[in-house]
């Protein structure tokens, strides 16, 4: 219980002073979010693990050489590193989508994002697996905002600043991402809990 009260910033400081346990805690705390953010881009667990390792190696090097200055914003910082590495991977593999519309709705259904791996062929067609596939197929700008909001815990204002757009553009991209996902869920007849109207 107490452990969760130690902030990321405090853990980074401890780590900078040689406390490896502090780093272990940071890894444990954020591994799932960072890994999921990568996986949703590359859609291959082996590549995602390689990139997760590269992400943390970059973080380790930056922190241990005293070049880290995010002041408590460890998760957004490391998810940004992860995101950039995943996008670089696609660029190197020449599988990065070239047609990205602001609206995204036309691209969504036709985007040939990457070859399906053996793994993705075997993916079970249950709700979450299907939803993961849908997120993976979102236009890059929409996916970027969605990943930053959900896995980096960044506010829309922070996302806007990080991506060099206005907050309305960031919100608009999120809106199209969610609308696209809703459309696809309806198309595949995937139901979610609709009894969620607030008390």
């Amino acid at each position: 219980m107490e452990k969760s009260l130690v902030s990321d910033g405090a853990l980074v400081s401890l780590y900078q002073n040689g406390n490896e346990k502090a780093f272990e805690l940071l890894v444990k705390r954020h591994k799932s979010k960072v890994y999921t953010a990568i996986y949703l881009i590359v859609k291959d667990s082996y590549i995602a693990e390689d990139l997760l390792q590269d992400t943390f190696i970059k973080a380790i090097t930056t922190i241990k050489t005293n070049r880290y200055n995010e002041e408590g914003k460890f998760l957004p910082w490391i998810v940004r590193i992860a995101h950039n590495l995943a996008i670089d991977y696609f660029r190197k593999e020449k599988r990065y989508p070239t047609v990205i519309l602001e609206d995204g709705s036309n691209v969504f259904n036709t985007l040939n994002f990457s070859e399906d791996s053996v793994e993705s062929v075997q993916i079970k067609m249950e709700t979450h697996e299907k939803l993961k596939e849908m997120i993976q197929k979102l236009p890059e700008q929409q996916k970027e905002v969605l990943l930053m909001r959900h896995y980096a815990d960044m506010s829309f204002q922070e996302i806007a600043e990080a991506t060099g757009v206005s907050i309305n553009t960031a919100l608009g991209r999120m809106r199209y991402a969610l609308i696209n996902l809703r459309k696809q869920m309806t198309k595949y007849n995937i139901n979610y809990d609709q009894n969620i109207y607030p008390k």
């Binding site: 040689g18 272990e24 380790i60 979450h128």
Partner: protein, 77 residues
């Protein structure tokens, strides 16, 4: 003056980025604007589904990361 809320405002509301004052006004608007309420319910449902998506990396890769960190420290001049 009556403030009109947009779908972008609803998204900020769903992600808890609206002020206390906005919360009251949006909650009231959702009671009266059925289109906006439908949008809100759908977006909230999708947000909750996305929040459930989480994958775990293997212990092996985590071990490699921690080993790299320890060795980086050891090898420092």
């Amino acid at each position: 003056m009556i403030k009109t809320f947009t779908p972008n405002d609803v998204i900020r509301y769903v992600y808890k980025e609206t002020s206390a004052e906005e919360n009251k006004l949006i909650a009231y608007t959702l009671l009266t604007d059925t289109d906006l309420r439908t949008f809100y319910e759908e977006i909230l449902g999708i947000k909750q589904e996305i929040s459930k998506i989480m994958r775990e990396p293997s212990d092996k890769v985590l071990g490699q990361i921690l080993t790299y960190s320890r060795e980086f420290q050891t090898n420092r001049p």
